[in-house]
Symmetry: C2
Subunit: 237 residues, 2 copies
DNA sequence: CCCACTTTATTTGTATTACTATTAATTCAA
DNA sequence: TTGAATTAATAGTAATACAAATAAAGTGGG
């Protein structure tokens, strides 16, 4: 396993991101195995035709996402899958680019199932005045769009709605999901998975419950929404 | 706001991690405000007495955690709190070092509340043979320890038990929580928050349900455990 | 023969300097 | 007033040298 690291994508972005992307692709796709030691810095510099500075920045980026681990004398090793940060937006982008997205979408829906009802409940209790205003404006947009449906603008409003709920929980640990959610929604758009109806009534139920400060009703309304959309998405029963 | 960036902790770790830690502390504590532009690279190099290489590695690390954002000509700016990745173990360590941990523990418990019941249900359905063996061994240890209670070893086994559940879900998005959970448990130990009893029976119920492949029973058992431990932790009703 | 200690070689970590690319702000001309 | 060209400031890339860490090989004493 020597020449698994070659080529370079002729995109725009900064060099070390290109390199990181290439290496990440090979790791995520399984082309290089977990716990495998990748070639030394010098070797990789030659293969990617970049300076050691750039290569090291690339490796640092991947290390910070839990994909790699470096030790002097021993080298840089691919970590166990357990340590990969699947909630990182960039990593998700790379993962989606690779292929079998059905599994990714299914797993993500499962996570939303666990999180969003609780997030809605928390938002009902903790949303600030400012956040309630934003939520109102966004729901208004959804309501308007639902009457004259247009996929892209509705998806965007839908995304913003659920994003705002995460941000309104008043719980720091829910914040990262706002970004992950956006990444997934954007990938939905570009890969144009069909999403039939708007479920505007189910969304209205969530919205009303949050504005009324009724956490249990918000939780239940979000459960209802998820159980309805589950029936339309690929890979679910 | 110029000399908010000085000193340097005389710890061991690699240089750029020390620097990153210092800057992160100032950001997380609010000493430097969100959206504020921090001093240029050269200035920071002088203040921290490190080379530009190390400083840039530090900044890259913080950028990858969503704390900073760099653009040519404009500089490096502290991002909105919404973008901070609170599920990063290192960031959590820094956050805990700062102070008001009660809020952190409370928020984390709230997240566990949302996630762990679903994780237990998924584990009941998807745990591999290998994972079931590990879970059995770990529960056996918990059972033994509960008879002759010793705080540290029990906390470690408890942590491993819940960690294994996350790893056994068969859902990539649950994996990162395994590490976050460990970080929080370790902080519990060092900051020696009291955790009275072992709840061994509640844990047994989860364990049995997972081994039996009964997802709804596993979910309910995990809910029961959380509602019981909630009554003992600081900051909850 | 075996164990502990020392040396060596390899690999990552840090530092320095120089140059390039990007872009906000300014300037100057239409 | 506008808008295109210039300027200046900052991050990105590169090349090179040296420092630190450590696994592995070598060495001496028991």
């Amino acid at each position: 396993m020597q020449n698994a690291f070659v080529e370079i994508a002729g995109v725009k972005r900064s060099l070390h991101v290109q390199v990181a992307r290439e290496i990440a692709r090979k790791i995520l796709s399984g082309e290089v195995a977990q716990n495998e030691i990748i070639p030394g810095e010098m070797t990789l510099c030659e293969q990617f035709k970049v300076s050691r500075t750039s290569l090291r920045e690339a490796i640092k980026l991947l290390t910070s996402k839990g994909l790699l681990e470096s030790k002097p004398k021993v080298g840089t090793r691919v970590t166990d899958r357990e340590n990969w940060n699947f909630l990182d937006s960039q990593l998700l982008d790379w993962l989606i680019d690779i292929g079998d997205n059905n599994a990714v979408y299914r797993d993500f829906l499962s996570l939303r199932n666990a999180l969003e009802p609780e997030a809605a409940a928390l938002a009902a209790e903790n949303a600030t005045a400012q956040q309630r205003i934003l939520l109102s404006a966004t729901f208004q947009r959804m309501d308007d769009i639902s009457k004259d449906f247009e996929l892209e603008s509705w998806t965007e409003a839908d995304m913003e709605f659920h994003r705002l709920i995460f941000l309104s929980t008043g719980n720091s640990f829910y914040l990262p999901f706002a970004n992950v959610l956006c990444t997934m929604f954007k990938s939905f758009i570009t890969h144009s998975s069909v999403r039939g109806s708007t479920c505007i009534n189910e969304h209205r139920a969530i919205y009303s419950a949050i504005m009324a400060g009724d956490s249990s009703k918000a939780r239940q309304a979000n459960i209802d929404l998820l159980s309805k959309s589950k029936r339309r998405l690929p890979g679910s029963s």
